[in-house]
């Protein structure tokens, strides 16, 4: 069954066509990867799903809901969680508080109930705290629980951001370059976690990634993009050997196309 369906989506910034008539489907329980050179429109597709951008044409449906009819702050309530390419954590807060913000979509209590700290609020807090502890355990974040984000190394921040997304118990997890800036070991950890998220938690994952090692290791289907257009979709090996993909990354080698003649 298709969880996410993007159909013929186009997004223009003035004259620049950032996403050009792209269609894709993410099935329930799969890991779907977007690859492509810089500026291909991969992160833009994430921002379209998050409703930070409005597409000029096309439709985006998730789990039976029309996302285009909802604003950005409604998207998480359907079960979509995401991370950012350049970590967007709450810097002046602890790891624990960051993960607790991830629970926001499960919030049941009102502001007044919060202010007087009613028994209902207390019970809800205990529930959030327990749910967050499971994420901490899963990602081995125990040593950092009460540390401020501002003082944490880059690799840990990446994991905290993944944890914040997981804390919302999503159906679909959007990972924007989960391995960028990570060491080889950290990337391996990330690969294991993504596998576990898929197989044990049953969460579908859509990710943008440049590290083809990670992409081949975890993803079922891969879509290659260039200049906002779809080049190829298939397994990692198929996409990597596709002529259009090789051309986008390496060029054609045809000198006559470069514009300067040598005659």
């Amino acid at each position: 069954m298709n969880l996410l369906e993007i159909e013929n989506v186009t997004l223009r910034f003035g004259g620049l066509v950032a996403v050009d008539n792209v269609s894709l489907k993410v099935e329930e329980g799969e890991v779907f990867a977007l690859v492509g050179p810089n500026g291909a429109g991969k992160s833009t597709i994430f921002n379209l799903i998050s409703r930070f951008y409005d597409p000029a044409e096309g439709s985006i449906r998730f789990d039976g809901h029309d996302l285009l009819k909802n604003s950005a702050d409604h998207v998480p309530s359907f079960g979509i969680a995401r991370t950012f390419q350049n970590i967007e954590l709450f810097e002046q807060a602890t790891v624990l508080q960051n993960l607790l913000v991830g629970r926001h979509r499960h919030r049941q209590t009102s502001m007044v109930s919060n202010i007087i700290f009613s028994p209902k609020t207390y019970r809800e807090e205990l529930g959030h705290r327990a749910a967050v502890e499971e994420v901490i355990e899963f990602l081995n974040l125990q040593p950092y629980r009460d540390k401020m984000i501002g003082g944490l190394p880059y690799g840990v921040r990446k994991v905290v951001e993944l944890g914040r997304a997981l804390a919302s118990e999503p159906k679909l997890l959007l990972l924007d370059e989960p391995a960028s800036g990570l060491s080889v070991e950290e990337t391996q950890d990330m690969a294991f976690w993504i596998e576990d998220i898929q197989t044990q938690m049953g969460i579908s994952v859509m990710m943008v990634e440049h590290d083809m090692g990670l992409v081949s290791a975890v993803s079922g289907r891969v879509m290659a993009l260039s200049d906002g257009k779809e080049l190829a979709t298939g397994t990692a090996a198929e996409v990597q050997s596709h002529p259009a993909v090789i051309e986008a990354y390496l060029g054609t080698g045809d000198i006559s196309k470069t514009g300067t003649s040598r005659t």
Partner: protein, 368 residues
């Protein structure tokens, strides 16, 4: 150094991190409860009035702290909300509404009015929002003049005494009762504030302060949450304004002027942005400077026969202290206190750069 062993989730939710902290705050509570005894003993309640004034400033400061320190929205217009609270309180008392109803209502109505004013400017960020609220503050005294039937205009308005079920409270005739009343309001608001910060509402405020884009990606409605913060902030300011009226006894169009708005903002910066303690520390500094200058002046006069009646000395000294804080201690007085405490906790392992803010990583790909 203390190690806290957490055995249940309550340890992360409860108000105090460990028992010793609860004991210290208990002692502080005892101290503020017993303070009037000292003034009863010496038979002069003048300084108690000053302390009450500090508490009222701290209440307004908490309101602004919630908005600026915890939601990241600067405001240079909080004296306006104080004015709302003060005049609504006066008018309701004048109409015969009992104080126990008029007082909370004056805060709530100030909150609603504040939110209505804030909604159109909430789309603004940083310095633009500060400018919009500054304009609001500049208009306040004019509006007080225009709304003469309710405010008394330039002539001013007298503030009726507090009457709680037959108990008359006046700043001058019953200073001890007034002190305990203000203390009660302050402690209640601190408790509300703490509750807010440990529950989803407060966390959504700090989320907006630190990263609007990821707050949205977590499902936080920016406009609604900011409006909520503005409402609570203006409510606290309104309550402080009502108490300020009772403390001043007489308010004119110049009471809640621009200087007061700026003083409030300076107060929370000096105290330490982002900490409830900061509101109190800042209020203490703001409250003590005029008293210290007056005392120093009379001391120089009587001891050395020096006449230091320089006009504008207070504001100059205040500005100087502020510049020193921004240059040398951006985390404010509470930040300084945290550093001193950490120094002794970790002795001799404290490093000078321990509280240095890390440079944040590149934010080139931000959507907005």
């Amino acid at each position: 150094m203390r190690f806290v062993f957490k055995t249940s989730y309550d340890a992360d939710i409860s108000l105090f991190k460990h028992r010793a902290q609860a004991v210290w705050y208990g002692l502080l509570l005892l101290l503020v409860l017993a303070t009037p005894l000292y003034f009863v003993a010496i038979g002069d309640a003048y300084l108690l009035g000053e302390i009450t004034g500090i508490l009222i400033l701290a209440i307004a400061g908490m309101g602004l702290m919630l908005l600026t320190g915890h939601t990241g929205l600067p405001s240079l217009g909080h004296a306006t909300f104080m004015a709302f609270g003060c005049y609504i309180n006066i008018n309701m008392l004048g109409a015969g509404v009992p104080w126990v109803i008029a007082f909370p209502l004056s805060g709530l109505i100030a909150g609603v009015l504040g939110t209505m004013i804030a909604l159109p400017v909430l789309r603004l960020h940083g310095v633009y929002l500060a400018l919009a609220t500054l304009a609001m503050s500049m208009l306040t005294s004019d509006f007080v003049v225009i709304a003469e039937p309710w405010t008394g205009g330039i002539a001013g308005a007298a503030v009726p005494d507090i009457n709680i079920f037959g108990m008359e409270i006046n700043r001058y005739s019953t200073p001890y009762k007034f002190y305990y009343l203000v203390l009660f309001v302050a402690i209640l608001l601190v408790w509300f504030y703490r509750n807010l910060l440990r529950t989803p509402t407060g966390r959504s405020f700090t989320a907006i302060r630190d990263s609007e884009i990821s707050a949205r990606a977590m499902g936080i409605n920016l406009t609604r949450t900011k409006a909520m913060s503005f409402f609570l902030s203006a409510t606290a300011a309104g309550l402080a304004g009502a108490l300020f009226g009772h403390s001043a006894g007489y308010v004119t169009n110049e009471t809640f002027d621009l200087v007061m708005s700026i003083t409030l903002l300076l107060m929370i910066v000096i105290g330490g942005l982002g900490f409830i303690h900061g509101a109190f520390f800042g209020a203490i500094v703001v409250g003590i400077i005029p008293v210290a200058i007056a005392n120093g002046r009379s001391f120089l006069q009587s001891t050395f026969d020096m006449n230091v009646n320089v006009p504008g000395l207070e504001s100059a000294l205040f500005a100087f202290i502020l510049i020193c804080f921004i240059l040398f201690e951006p985390m404010g007085l509470y930040g300084r206190w945290l550093k001193i405490r950490t120094y002794f906790e970790l002795f001799p392992f404290y490093r000078k750069d321990m509280f240095k803010r890390q440079k944040s990583y590149l934010k080139t790909d931000r959507v907005q």
